[in-house]
Symmetry: D3
């Protein structure tokens, strides 16, 4: 259950409104690396958490934080749209400078939302909730969260580099710090779950004896000329999960030429296929 206090988690200030930067900020709201994604991902992972109840609390707590980040960014988008053009002309003639601003902004921020934020990315593509990874496996969820915060911080850094508005830089430096914490937080949770050697391969509940273990730690090469694939930490030495030894080898087809046979009468195929 959630509560609000109608305030922002951290101050949001825009010194020089910029509709193009408003568009860029939309990526941090509704992009696949954005805050809707993490808020809803932690929320649904919490709702489906089984086992140690601390993980549910950890996840829901951070979901609450991320909801506040969406709110901060939505405020930042609206403030950046302050003064954005409503018309392509001034005093009866088309104005090229105005059109350039309009051409670069996300028109939906005006047409659909009246100069406010929307749950869309920087190209106006709506966020699609299939990006909420909540697998029912708590360790897999942690890997998804580390990934989400890694792409999220990368995005925040790009936005930080894109602007020199002091207010926006201040807000983003806060969000970047939080992403640092969240990367560490989910790595810490994964450590509690056993880390590389205890949690992997995920799910660790599957008896590895049932997998075809000669392929479990083999780096297979798919080079057309049959040469060895590229060498690295992945091609020799102990596996990272500590349960095998990496090997490396070219590979070729072990399977048959697939043959589905003729089509069945009545299946809508051509006569020639039957």
């Amino acid at each position: 259950m959630f509560y609000t206090d109608n305030k922002l988690q951290y101050p949001v200030r825009v010194d020089a409104p910029n509709p193009l930067f408003a568009r860029a900020l939309q990526q941090a709201i509704g992009g696949v690396e954005g805050e809707i994604r993490v808020a809803m991902q932690y929320f649904f992972q919490a709702c489906g958490a089984r086992g140690d109840a601390r993980f549910r609390d950890l996840l829901m707590n951070t979901a609450a934080e991320e909801l506040g980040h969406i709110e901060m960014l939505a405020t930042a988008v609206a403030l950046n749209l302050e003064g954005a053009p409503l018309a392509m002309q001034e005093e009866g003639a088309r104005d090229k400078a105005v059109e350039a601003v309009m051409g670069g902004m996300n028109l939906k921020n005006l047409l659909s939302a009246g100069l406010s934020a929307m749950p869309v990315d920087s190209d106006g593509v709506p966020f699609d909730m299939s990006h909420i990874y909540a697998s029912g496996n708590i360790a897999a969820d942690m890997t998804a969260n580390i990934a989400a915060e890694s792409t999220g911080r990368t995005l925040a850094v790009r936005l930080y580099n894109m602007t020199d508005d002091p207010g926006m830089k201040d807000m983003l430096s806060y969000l970047i710090a939080r992403d640092t914490m969240h990367q560490n937080q989910w790595m810490a949770a994964l450590e509690e779950l056993g880390g590389a050697q205890g949690a992997f391969p995920i799910p660790n509940s599957f008896p590895q004896a049932e997998e075809q273990s000669e392929f479990s730690y083999a780096f297979l090469g798919f080079q057309a000329d049959g040469s060895a694939p590229v060498d690295g930490r992945w091609s020799q030495g102990p596996s990272v999960d500590g349960k095998g030894q990496f090997t490396s080898q070219p590979t070729t087809a072990m399977g048959q030429q697939p043959d589905l046979g003729p089509a069945r009468t009545g299946s809508g195929a051509q006569t020639e296929q039957m």
Copy 2:
């Protein structure tokens, strides 16, 4: 550039075709944890790889492998649909047993594809390429790949547990082994990139002095009653990236009550908003 040999990477055999299992297998093709996702993700990461060229080769090599996995699974879907009902009746009366099978299968596998596989998930939802995470940051990409293989192996294990068809169990035990390798492979690649202490926080190219460092390793609590948030590895001790010390504290709003002011004339708002 790609080549093919018209054979399958590993033998695909179905002993007792089952249209419901065909539907389940579709998740491994077009689900967000499926093989289209990894094939295309590694492909696009390779295409955008900058820096050490070995990573490009590593990614494209594995993209080639995953394309072969889609092919295996597509063959398995078609073989499981062999003998699936084309009509709801036999000899002029509706047949409840037939309808139960049809009710459980993905009807599009028949109606759209003539008893073949499609790039959709187990509910017939088409795969959406926004799930291809290729961030331009090679370490972030590796975290996305570890996550993809973790949810992927979890899915493969669930499919393995769902069936007792010997052919399908054989194929899945191979795919599970490959997922084991791929989890390890991407962890190994991340290790080459510095591991937890070298690669994180991602991107490591951002000067941490510019983030608001008092929040970089603080686990903030959002409990409505102001109590301390849940305790764990994330709330004390050195941070996992080795660059800070975890702390833990309740938090409250530091920011203002947001106020966008009145709406502008001509912006399409109500008069009362102006």
Copy 3:
């Protein structure tokens, strides 16, 4: 900014778990009439609210409530999936009864989420955030909210009628009551904004003198035989917004036959189009 207390807004109890009902409940989470929609819609409307600040608070307060409803429903889905089949067979043979249950459930609840809820509808289609209507016009927003709660309560009633599980009926009777309130609440807000005669036509800030007023209150008929269109409250008497008189008449084309002219050289058309 949001806070949580890790409890449910209202008790959630399932007496007889039912995977098919879990699938039905998913519509109330991720369907277009569901709780994600209203939570996020009120949230984004709040973030973009201009003018009287009470509306922002009203919207954000109810957004907080709806987040709690998602949580309740997600819990209900997971509890209904308790005991759902993980395999199609028992003791080595395919089991028709088990397959019937699996055929009727949303397989992704198992395959993607390990028997937990997802942000998808009853067919497994992910929620798409383009359904968040936050127009920047506060009265238009209220109409969207009345519509959302009307379809939402209709859905909740259908779910209530579908089950006879006492726990589920109890939870749904609570949610239905809340939908009653929310329909009334947004109608009350619209009343504050002037009601039918003050708020409409929306936006009321547009000078009606600039619209082609001979068509503003005319019910136009598009019957192929030129007959009068169907009669009703909409075809005569004062208009509901009190600003005109309804009339009714058949209509025919006032415009030209459209002619885009020949295609331009270099535009990729056929030579015959130029």
Copy 4:
């Protein structure tokens, strides 16, 4: 069944073609507030209308009108694209002015459609038919239609304000007038269905005795500090549907701490969750 006469419902004229305005107009075709939405929504509501047959006729009649509006707007988009650049250069050098125009237009209007309209919004996002609300409840449908025409007229007003092309202003002043009528028309239909006191709460066929009536007219507060929620018409006095009295109160969790218990063996969770 539908017929056509190959003419436009109302004249469409563009005096000064403008590719950026073509992009803006796309929102009125394929945006969620656009004409495809209303045409198809009224169409499907008509197809599913049960009860008084006049509503079916009313809906299908207006669906026919809206199809004609899509046609008008598609013509307007193509006419605004007349003379749009096909190449980024003139006489061998990149031309900044040309690029500015191209940068602001929707490139798909050229690349996919050869300077014609598409069923996409102003950001090129295709219309998704999940936005067709046809609930099977005629009163709920009317609320959805009032909402659709409210956001639709808001959009049309914004487009009207954006341009000073006389032809486009003429066309839009016609469409705005039709939206005025349609808002009134659906309110009139709702009045026929009983208005606020007869039709609400929707569906009115559900016996209110079965809802938890102590929550049916209570404005619940979710303020983190437990203070009373914001005051208004919604917090006291008779409810708008005339069936209760508004009250207002802070609320806290009535439900339990959710606990899904341990994960089941074979469900793909981690061993630690079992």
Copy 5:
């Protein structure tokens, strides 16, 4: 501009309602092979037609027909849902037979639409208007239409084979006949545009001297072992467009190893990539 007469183009009758067949019929409404697709495709092609005006009329005329087909199918869906279960139990106990029916039907037809049709496919996936191919090239459009009617008739045949309801078979035998006509109609239109030798390669306005003509009629082989690709009409003899001679040959990489160089400072990459 469109008109209606509130009647169906062809009688629709269901003798034995069947909710599972209702679900199957949804594919013919909102599937990618369905009637929304063709109606809207011909509509948008008409709106963008340049050159000989007869094509615009031809397209809009058939768009009107297809709108009537959607209406027929929507009626058929609702009639097949007559008597579908609203509850999972009768007289207080769960009813397995009822649940089997509910498990096989599209639950949204009940939950979202009150036993009516929706613009979704047989899995409840909403139609996405990106499937409207209207290219601005009239010959390309004709190929898209031939393809649409080919997959459309294939779907109609599968539905015809699936049912033995006399009413449904009658309606489908009509729709199949219309698809026969439409396949022929678009082939006839393509013939008017020059047929294989006049219209192809599409667009025929591009000077073939500017393409790299040594690859224009060469069947390239991508066999991993460098062997010749599969032989057929495509590998020798005159090309179908009459402008070249087919040849066949294995191929290998002509291009470089791609190298994007190091990542730029400030681009959000890892330090190791710079």
Copy 6:
């Protein structure tokens, strides 16, 4: 099964990088006319091919080629983004020229991908795999492929005309040539399957005696005034499939006024509908 050689099929060179052209090229990667579409379409058609095995090989061989085309275009996108702006300012002030470039580029190419290609179209809309037409009918598949290559070549021609970069013109002239071949290749395959008179109407396995043959070759007119529809090759003479004679006639409703009757109790409708 697939192999790679880490090289490009054809050289990719960009002489003057242009972020706006990078955006345009994205259409050829992730647009509905793009290379992901054909690669995956041929791949899935191959996986579902039944009957003459040569078609499977033909399809998979060309799928391999198209994968290489995606790679070429992805490289071209990244090279065109070389030097694209990372920030909106230089030396502390906003720079209008830089903003114009940023306004015209796809911001996600920077924000999500670090100046690399993505599986999205020129508006940043992700490719949706529902565009993969693999019908299980080999002749229908060939029509879909001819259509895909026709819109594909049209797109490539538009891109060729848009740029005067010699490297890009060279690459595109190669891709245009390949599209010429592929149009011819699929027409040749259709010829092998019987051509217009042998393969049509598709599916040719359905006994035409079962369709309502009086409508099979009749061009029906839907003109509101009952006049004859537009004349052409489609309205007289032998049908293109050689199995009938074209006729032409106005048409009117043969079916009833649809009537779904009253709504059922408990179905969530209004009382007035029952």
